[in-house]
């Protein structure tokens, strides 16, 4: 797959369709690839990588990249295309300046899950019959492939590319995922249990802002958390509830716009299941206003910024809040 992508990228660079390519670049180790922009065939040959660890969503980078001169080729996995669509809807990317090649999605792997098995000094890995063979400095280790799948791929919502100019490989379908199971579990808790759950999780937050910085829905020119006039600007937690407010405010800000790409939880160094906050909103929106998937298309209106006379009355919030 990687070779096909590089070959096609080189062709598009050579014929002048695009002047740059956004994809993933090898890191220091085999598992720490990062999003990167390539301008030449040489750079592509040397650094371009696409493998089980290229889980990151490059759509957000296109906010800036699509505003530069020339067209850029973007390789988007199915989940990334939802984010890209949503950004088009919000006028944050310039569609005409992006050439999209849809590429197959995951399941991608989470190196932390491999490390959690006590496997260190990872050099390389191979996938054989659902078993991962991991070459390390200290010899070959094995583990089940599914145990290493990253969180966002476990609850994959769709293998379908909702926007592309061309596809490499076949397009898939929207999946019947079990992504709301955990939300349901939380809903069934008592208010106190739920509060305790979130206090325990959110108090781990170190306010590194990685979730915000990676989130494709968080593309404000100036984030409210960086704006002294907003009244909620604060870099470091000043009291023990600060980080709770940060995540709650953030969840409200992306409500109705979050495509559930799962990047927030993937990048969290403290392993806080942040995506559950967003999923709760998605589930509520589905239940109150009918099924809605942000980014699934370019024309539908988000239920939270739209209304019709059949919308539920605000009192529903009170009714649902009653224990």
């Amino acid at each position: 797959m990687q070779e096909t992508m590089i070959k096609r990228a080189k062709e598009l660079l050579a014929d002048g369709t695009v002047s740059r390519v956004i994809g993933w670049k090898k890191g220091e180790f085999g598992y720490d690839s990062t999003p990167a922009v390539f301008e030449t065939a040489e750079e592509l040959d040397r650094d371009f990588v696409f493998d089980d660890f290229t889980a990151s969503n490059v759509s957000k980078y296109l906010v800036k990249e699509s505003r530069k001169d020339g067209k850029i080729l973007a390789f988007l996995k199915p989940c990334d295309t939802y984010s890209f669509n949503q950004l088009i809807k919000e006028h944050r990317v310039i569609r005409e300046n992006v050439y999209i090649i849809g590429i197959p999605g995951g399941p991608k792997l989470d190196v932390e899950k491999i490390k959690a098995k006590g496997i260190t000094g990872i050099l390389n890995k191979k996938n054989e019959n659902y078993t991962l063979k991991i070459e390390t400095l200290y010899g070959t280790e094995t583990m089940m492939f599914y145990e290493a799948i990253c969180g966002k791929c476990q609850d994959c919502k769709s293998k379908k590319h909702v926007i592309y100019d061309e596809l490499i490989g076949e397009d898939g379908d929207v999946l019947d995922s079990s992504r709301f199971d955990m939300v349901e579990k939380l809903e069934n808790m008592t208010a106190q249990e739920r509060f305790d759950f979130w206090r325990e999780q959110l108090s781990k937050c170190i306010r590194c802002n990685a979730c915000r910085n990676v989130c494709p829905a968080c593309t404000c020119e100036k984030c409210v958390f960086d704006n002294p006039k907003s009244g909620i600007e604060n870099k470091a937690p000043s009291d023990s509830f600060e980080e709770n407010m940060f995540h709650i405010i953030r969840a409200f800000h992306v409500a109705g716009r979050c495509t559930d790409c799962g990047e927030c939880s993937r990048v969290c160094p403290q392993n806080i299941p942040l995506h559950l906050l967003n999923r709760k909103f998605i589930k509520d929106i589905n239940e109150l206003y009918g099924e809605y998937q942000a980014g699934a298309d370019l024309t539908s209106k988000s239920p939270l910024t739209d209304y019709d006379t059949n919308d539920c009355e605000p009192s529903i919030v009170h009714e649902r809040g009653v224990e």
């Binding site: 006028h91 944050r92 404000c220 020119e221 992306v254 910024t305 739209d306």
Partner: protein, 663 residues
């Protein structure tokens, strides 16, 4: 440095009885920036206002907080007072310590505490108030009347009389509404059609009036003086212009088994129909649920017989957009559905009818040509029982808590008419109370009892049982004689409660007007502004606001017209300067605000900006048209980056109020 004056009103005892006003004035005098804090018996009185004016002059105040009633009552009074002595009116804030405090609390200590907190919040807010200047916006000199019953017709005629264009939107194929179905009217017993149909004709012939029959309001945008309304003209499959109303199509239509709504389903009409002889417009309409041509493409008789070539089976719903300065709601009422009232056997027995059905049974254009016959066997009824308050003044969920107001009078009318025409018929009326306030109303009722010997019995009917011999057993109690009665009746007439039309609620949402729990539109003030809604530019006419008889409906319809004319004669109205604006440096151009704006006040521009790295970038940013913005604030909460803010209710002002309350 702010110099704020605080003025605490006693409102007689309205506030002072529950709130220690002196303590409030004293507590607020210590708030930052407050230079004078006073209390007074009636702050809205001339001398009260002078107190405020003198303080502004004497202390050179930069802000005023009046702790008094709701800003809906007197905000304007105090703004005007401030403006008269040179203080910008938008530097006046009201702390509502009456409706939101003294009226709802009993304990003086807690109410006083709350009044102080509300006052503190207002002081915190006024610190951040900025002087604002109101602009003006033009008034579209055209009115829309929603509903073409007697209320809508009267309102439209009165507005047209004043020389303004007015459109009537009526969802049925003809105007006329419920009054067109009524046989005679109380208390004069003149025929409803004789007094209504001339008005219908007048409306259709008036050069200022356009009737959109078989149409509905699909969308409302805009604001007082400048509404944009989308009207859905439903496909009637007949060209309204070409149709002459000759009725040849109706005669030849082979589909004859369609329940006739105009006669309350007591007889049948054709699939193509003209509701009644005096319908306006007198144009045929095809019912697509029954027309065989529309259902399966087999028939087409009406098209063949139509000399005018008016039949158009391919007609589609049409949407037209029109601008209006004022909107008058006249959506009227319906009798409630009686299916749940098993005890009265309405669904089981055809001879148990509603009062509106009886109107049709007695009407010359009704199913029996005006002869009162039982629907079941077309025989003359000799004993008729009227049951009052079916679903009215009812505590349970089946009915309505209110009095439907018209039933006592129309039942007296029915009883009298029956006794007059068929003296051999015994008429019983079971009632809780007989309510006959109104000019010549009680005399009318007494005539029914004294002159026509109608048997009025205080008590409710417990059970109505159809018997095998075709008679109906009515079991009731006579509360005055304290005995149980069984009446062997031929017919039972139920005075069903009336309720607002079902279209009223979605319409209220579109118009952003308020309704009460019974879906009647709420007037701006129950005593002093009975025909205005709380939403500027929306007026209320007829039974959509509450149960009404015809004289009252017509009076209110004319009153609503007068209010609308008062608006339409103005060339422009003062705008609210509390409008939104966007901070372009923060704006992402994401369109969230545009999507939620109910007034279409937000547009986007590509603008060049200097970036921190000295380059320039073109960004899409929102701008608000202040003449269109109504200051609802929806955009400020939709904006993810906080770029949108509202004059007079800025995010920082609201946060300052919250902080003051939580302190």
């Amino acid at each position: 440095m702010q110099r704020i004056g605080v003025f605490v009103c006693h409102c007689g005892t309205n506030i002072a009885a529950t709130v220690d006003v002196k303590a409030v004035a004293e507590a607020l005098s210590h708030e930052p920036g407050v230079v004078i804090s006073q209390d007074y018996q009636y702050m809205c009185s001339e001398s009260g206002q002078n107190l405020v004016k003198d303080a502004i002059k004497e202390h050179n105040l930069t802000g005023v907080v009046v702790c008094s009633c709701s800003p809906r009552m007197h905000e304007n009074t105090f703004r005007k007072a401030a403006a008269s002595v040179g203080l910008n009116p938008y530097l006046v804030e009201i702390a509502n310590i009456r409706e939101q405090c003294s009226w709802i609390h009993k304990e003086i200590a807690t109410a006083t505490d709350k009044a102080i907190i509300l006052g503190k919040a207002a002081v915190a807010k006024v610190h951040l108030n900025a002087p604002l200047t109101a602009g003006e916006s033009p008034v579209v000199k055209r009115a829309l009347v929603i509903g073409g019953g007697i209320a809508g017709i009267q309102t439209a005629l009165d507005i047209a009389e004043a020389g303004f264009d007015v459109d009537i939107v009526e969802k049925k194929p003809t105007i006329g509404g419920k009054m067109a179905q009524i046989d005679k009217t109380f208390p004069t017993l003149d025929c409803a059609a004789c007094i209504l149909t001339p008005k219908m004709v007048e409306a259709s012939q008036n050069e200022h009036i356009t009737i959109h029959s078989f149409s509905e309001v699909a969308d409302v945008k805009g604001f007082v003086g400048n509404f944009t309304v989308t009207i859905k003209k439903k496909a009637r499959y007949v060209d309204e212009v070409k149709c002459t109303g000759c009725g040849a199509c109706v005669e030849k239509c082979p589909m004859k088994k369609v329940p006739n709504e105009f006669n309350e389903g007591l007889d049948n009409r054709h699939a193509i129909y003209i509701p009644f002889a005096q319908a306006v417009p007198k144009v045929a309409t095809i019912d697509p649920n029954y027309c065989m041509m529309l259902k399966n493409g087999k028939c087409g008789v009406c098209s063949k017989v139509c000399a005018a070539g008016a039949i158009d089976y391919k007609q589609q719903d049409k949407f037209i957009e029109q601008k209006y300065g004022a909107i008058i709601v006249a959506t009227g009422f319906n009798p409630i559905n009686l299916d749940k009232y098993d005890e009265f056997a309405y669904s089981q027995c055809p001879d148990v009818v509603t009062s509106l059905e009886l109107e049709r049974l007695m009407n010359a254009a009704g199913p029996n040509g005006g002869t009162l016959l039982r629907p079941s066997d077309k025989t003359h009824p000799h004993t008729i029982v009227f049951v009052q308050c079916v679903g009215s003044r009812c505590d349970d969920e089946k009915g309505k808590p209110y009095c439907s107001k018209i039933c006592c009078m129309y039942t007296a009318k029915h009883a009298m008419l029956i006794r007059e025409k068929y003296p051999d018929t015994e008429v019983y009326v079971f009632y809780i109370d007989v309510r006959t306030p109104g000019k010549n109303f009680d005399e009318f009722y007494r005539r029914a009892v004294e002159q026509y010997n109608v048997h009025y019995i205080k008590g409710m009917v417990g059970k109505v049982t159809p018997k095998s011999d075709g008679k109906i057993d009515v079991q009731a109690s006579d509360l005055l004689a304290n005995e149980q009665l069984h009446i062997n009746a031929d017919m039972v007439v139920l005075a069903a409660a009336i309720e607002p039309d079902k279209t009223a609620r979605p319409l209220a949402t579109m118009l952003t007007t308020q309704m009460d729990t019974n879906d009647f539109f709420t007037e701006a003030h129950p005593k002093l502004r009975p025909v205005e809604s709380a939403t500027a530019g929306i007026f209320l006419s007829g039974a959509c606001q509450g149960p009404k008889d015809i004289p009252e409906t017509v009076a209110q319809a004319s009153a609503a017209a007068a209010k609308a004319i008062g608006l339409l004669v103005k060339n422009s109205i003062t705008c609210n300067p509390c409008v939104a604006h966007s901070d372009e440096l923060l704006c992402n151009g994401c369109s969230s605000c545009e999507k939620v704006c109910p007034y279409g006040a937000i547009t986007y521009q590509d603008k060049e900006f200097r970036m921190p790295d000295r380059t320039t970038a073109i960004r899409r940013v929102a701008s608000v048209n202040p003449a269109v913005c109504q200051g609802c604030g929806a955009c400020t909460v939709a904006c993810p980056s906080g770029a949108m803010d509202l004059n007079g209710f800025s995010n920082s002002q609201i946060m300052a109020e919250v902080d003051a309350i939580c302190k």
